[in-house]
Amino acid sequence: MNPTLPVGADYVRILPEIVLSIFGMAIMVLDPLVDEKKSQQLLGGLGLIGTLAGLVSTWIMAQSPGFAFWNMVQVDGFSVFFHVLVIAIALVLILTSYEYMAVQQLRAGEYYGLILFGLVGMCLMSSAVELVLIFISLEISSISTYILAGFRRRSATSSESSLKYFLLGSFATAFFLYGVAMMFGATGSTNIDAISAALNSGKVPLLAYVAMALMFVGLGFKVAAAPFHIWTPDVYEGAPAPVVGFMSTAPKAAAFAVLLRIIFEANAPGRFWLIWLSAVLSMTLGNVAALVQDNVKRLLAYSSIAHAGYILVAFAAKPELGAPAVMFYTAAYAAMNVGAFAVVSHLANENERYVTLENYAGLGRSSPILAGTLTIFLISLIGIPITGGFFAKFYVFSAALQSNLVWLTIIGVINSAIGAYYYLKIIVVMYMREAREEVPVLPIPLALRAALALTLAATVYLGVVPGRMLTFVQQSAQQLLQAEHTSAREQVGNAAVPRATQ
């Protein structure tokens, strides 16, 4: 056995995770010490600093790319991208939650702690190149979201949402794990690079196909892709609104990162029609079901299924075109959806009383700022130019067309035309209907303003000058796809999984 200890570089390459855990623990420890009134501000502030520190440490981490902990994690542009993305989402979430938690009278300490710990899992998901580590971090991210979903404990819907998410989530995770076991059985390794090398040398064992299928079940569930999307509306409807904004983007982005690694880096065999069909189903089911919803949270839940479908379209495309499109889309979707949910959670008010479409009537009058920002997010979700949503769709569809997926593109385009209808419905209601009952709109606190400004800026930035972002995602996608070859060769000398001899 090799007795070496991890060196400094190893720690630098998981620095964001370390920093986030430390802040999480600090919150946990401080929680009982501060009195309840102050805890909201103090611990929330600590969480905020934690995410900021996480961003800084990500920057430090980005300076030393490479493998760490004996090929457990890999730091490259790809993982840096997703680190920044999920941490930024959490930052906005914390800004939004500041007010929300106070209005809902929920205890703060564990909430912020769970967010930070959950982030550790999501960050690791994006940099892990070992299925076991991916599994554990997936569980960290999932379990913390299960708990967050049930945070409004006095509410029956919230705990129901939590229960449904938990039961079905564990169910799906078991499938994923079985897939990991099969993959281990098929290739003798759980390291993605080694798997990739095994799958791309000679005939692919049948067991690997089964393994891929099972892993797709688990990951498809996490990203809410049809036919494993079915939990989404129920869970999103019941969970606290800011948390929905979070869990429809951050864990999803991390799960997409894993899917990208598994599907593209390992060059999963026989995936094409599977993804094709899943993309079509997700887009269509999501959009069509959203048409008749009148609960805004539920509507956005269906919309998030549809968006997962659009992202899957890019998975069906050629890797070098699809991977950057996926990355861009997750970022754009995160910006607009988190923003939209920030508005929704502000309006929801005590006990989330105001979440139906009817409650949005006349919002254009009563609160032009909220209505205006929500409109921009919705416009972006529709995919109208000069917003991030447009370019995201544009790249996805152009990637698909350049890979000769004409029908898939046409179905996607038709779907996004259908989708325009229900987003528009919200805009119409906000500006063109008189409020039937008085819906109190609380003053917008500073933190929420900051959250809205950040998401708005990101949405518009990605829509107006997407050039830099695009260059970045292309480079990192390039690294991801090349990693397959380079690291597989490194593997030979530096055995990731020691073989016990008998």
């Binding site: 939590s162 449904k164 169910f171 076991a181």
Partner: protein, 100 residues
């Protein structure tokens, strides 16, 4: 000498029993027990494959799965308690406020 596939089939049977349990049981706790059964099935696969490939890492995975299962159990049972508090029922068919 026993064929590895025997172990794998046993593992598959346990996994399938777990899935069926999820589908037919009404008590939330029993459903959760079914999930544990699924995980146990997977564990057997890991150990069997480890033996086949002569890779000890397969056995280490089992260890991790157990940790995860324990953590899941803690949280899951807490969620079940929370649901029971608000709904006074453990029947999953009655937990359907959120729908359509």
């Amino acid at each position: 000498m026993v064929p590895v596939s025997y172990y794998l089939i046993l593992s598959g049977i346990l996994f399938s029993c777990g899935v069926i349990g999820f589908l037919i049981k009404r008590n939330i706790i029993t459903i959760f027990i079914s999930i544990e059964l699924m995980l146990n099935g997977v564990n057997l696969s890991f150990v069997a494959f480890a033996a086949q490939w002569q890779h000890l890492s397969g056995q280490v995975f089992v260890f991790f799965v157990m940790v995860v299962a324990a953590a899941e159990a803690t949280v899951g049972l807490a969620i079940i308690i929370a649901v029971f508090r608000t709904r006074e029922t453990l029947n999953v068919d009655h937990v359907n406020l959120l729908k359509l």
